[in-house]
Symmetry: C2
Subunit: 339 residues, 2 copies
């Protein structure tokens, strides 16, 4: 029983709640015997959903929360007022150490604000970045920060680089991950004021494998493992990635259906094509952790289906097993001494 990791899941968050959320939790406990899930939300609704499945009942528990934070609600106010919302109740479980992690597909703002306010940052961490994995030709890269706190300072970016390196090395398993800063040219003297200030700081960090600037065109080819940027830029990259991939895939499908000849070709080629495109499907990589907090908070896409929820839950387990929070705490301090 000692090895069981307990993950709280927001049963009410996201476009497909509670149906896909509950399904994902059931799949997670069926796939891994070392996982227990606390489904946080409206008890009747969640319980009704659970009756659809057969699963090890001792490893899914419903934690009642009578309120729901909607995506459109101003986050700070929502966190303050809705004390019995699924997000607030679950974040308190994280804070109190009753769970090893929390997964939500709900309001990004509420999860980000609540994570910082309720769970709290590790001592020494200036800002908690949201760091999703994005698909590349070589595998995945960590894009850090895609959170809601824009207009970062250079010291924030340096910490992002450290936290991202730890995550990629210990959760994703890439030794000595290559770190790059998003820039509009490869040369050190290029960039906006923030990048120009941050570049020499990253270069000085002996604990970071800094490879210099990365232009956005080189991100999809996987030239860096950790891609550091300010949250506004990170959001633009993440969302353009999603939008462009789905637009291109749509355009390609339409093209394949345009002639009889191409339709026949498509029928033959589709299985192989689907396998390839799956590699560029962001949902396969689980959710984005909010790094630098005293406990683990994972935000998954609002449109998450069961598969993404399941993967995010499993991601929590690796995170806990590798003691990422502990490593960040140790490294943030080591880093500061090195400089």
């Amino acid at each position: 029983m000692d090895n069981i990791k307990v993950v709280a899941v927001d049963a009410m968050g996201g476009d497909n709640a509670p149906v896909e959320i509950v399904k994902g939790c059931v799949e997670a406990v069926k796939e891994r015997e070392d996982i227990k899930v606390l489904l946080v939300g409206l008890a009747d609704v969640v319980q009704a959903e659970l009756t659809k499945y057969t699963y090890p009942t001792d490893r899914i528990e419903v934690v009642p929360a009578s309120q729901v934070i909607e995506t459109a609600e101003p986050p700070v106010m929502a966190i303050r007022k809705k004390k019995d919302s699924s997000i607030v109740v679950a974040l308190k479980l994280v804070k109190e150490g009753k769970v090893d992690g929390f997964v939500s597909a709900g309001s990004s703002g509420a999860v980000l604000v609540g994570g910082q306010v309720i769970v709290g940052k590790i001592k020494g961490v200036e800002r908690a970045p949201l760091a999703p994995l994005i698909p590349t030709k070589k595998g995945v890269s960590l894009l850090i920060d895609c959170g809601a706190n824009v207009d970062a300072r250079s010291s924030h970016l340096v910490q992002f680089a450290r936290m991202g390196s730890i995550y990629m090395e210990h959760v994703v398993g890439i030794p000595n991950p290559k770190v790059a800063i998003v820039n509009i040219g490869a040369e050190e003297e290029k960039g906006n004021a923030l990048v120009k200030e941050t570049y020499p700081l990253l270069k000085e960090c002996k604990d970071i494998n800094f490879i210099g600037s990365i232009e956005a065109r080189d991100i999809p080819s996987g030239q860096a493992d950790v891609i550091v940027c300010e949250a506004f830029v990170g959001n633009v990259i993440l969302k353009l990635y999603e939008g462009l991939s789905s637009t291109l895939i749509g355009v390609i499908k339409t093209g394949l259906m345009s002639t009889l000849r191409s339709k026949i070709g498509a029928a033959l080629a589709l299985p192989a094509l689907k396998n390839t495109l799956k590699a560029f499907d962001a949902s396969a990589y689980g959710g984005a952790p909010l790094l630098g907090l005293k406990g683990l908070v994972v935000k998954t896409h609002g449109s998450s289906k069961a598969k993404e929820i399941k993967n995010s839950i499993i991601q929590c387990v690796s995170f806990k097993e590798q003691d990422i929070s502990g490593k960040i705490q140790a490294n943030i301090c080591v880093g500061d001494k090195t400089e």
Copy 2:
């Protein structure tokens, strides 16, 4: 003869100079009888290249320039020191009104700096943005600014919105173009300091069809005709567009070649697929104009081939015919009075 438009072309600029540049010029004068090209560069080299073709010799002229600015050279210094470089010589032709436009696939920095310094900005224009057309599901959108001057002010972005609207309406032919500002959420209160400051200013402009914020994920679907952003963000969007499209297309091709069955399918589907992907080929849309200058300067991609050079030359003609510079000058003033 009055209707002939004269376009200077940098024979020495870009990865494929002078071969593809000269070829593009020959194709342009063959396609359109109202175009004359001045090929600026090392006279011997250009002349030797021209002997490969038969073309109306009265409509291609070689203008000698003994120096070449390399992409890696610091732009300001290069423009100052290399007075007889193809870029400087051609920009002087623009300034003196001897040509109707200038096309270069050479050093972006040198073209941008040289354009502002040698040709000069229209009175009232605070900053000259580089505005490429990017492919979308519906056609094209203008991404403004992708230039080298980062850390813009809100008044710059408002002018970009005006200049971009004029360009899209009169060169691309989209009546009352929809203008959006790149943001990390749809709500007015979201964004970084710059966007929050600019949003209400754009909303007040009666001469702009401002539709609000656009998230990067909605850019490829073509929801806005003019996409306003600061140059750092614009560069990231433009380059991620290039990188992700080519990576995805590569990944798809590899996928199609992975099994015998899919190979046969690919052979059947490829012609239709190629047509579709062509619509997402940025090179079809010519180069990016540097808007707000007293004359027309068009920067094409460094990897431009003959087709892109030809399209950029033809773009210069529309620009001149529609008197875009005149319209910008009139509108920048009207706009200032409106506010």
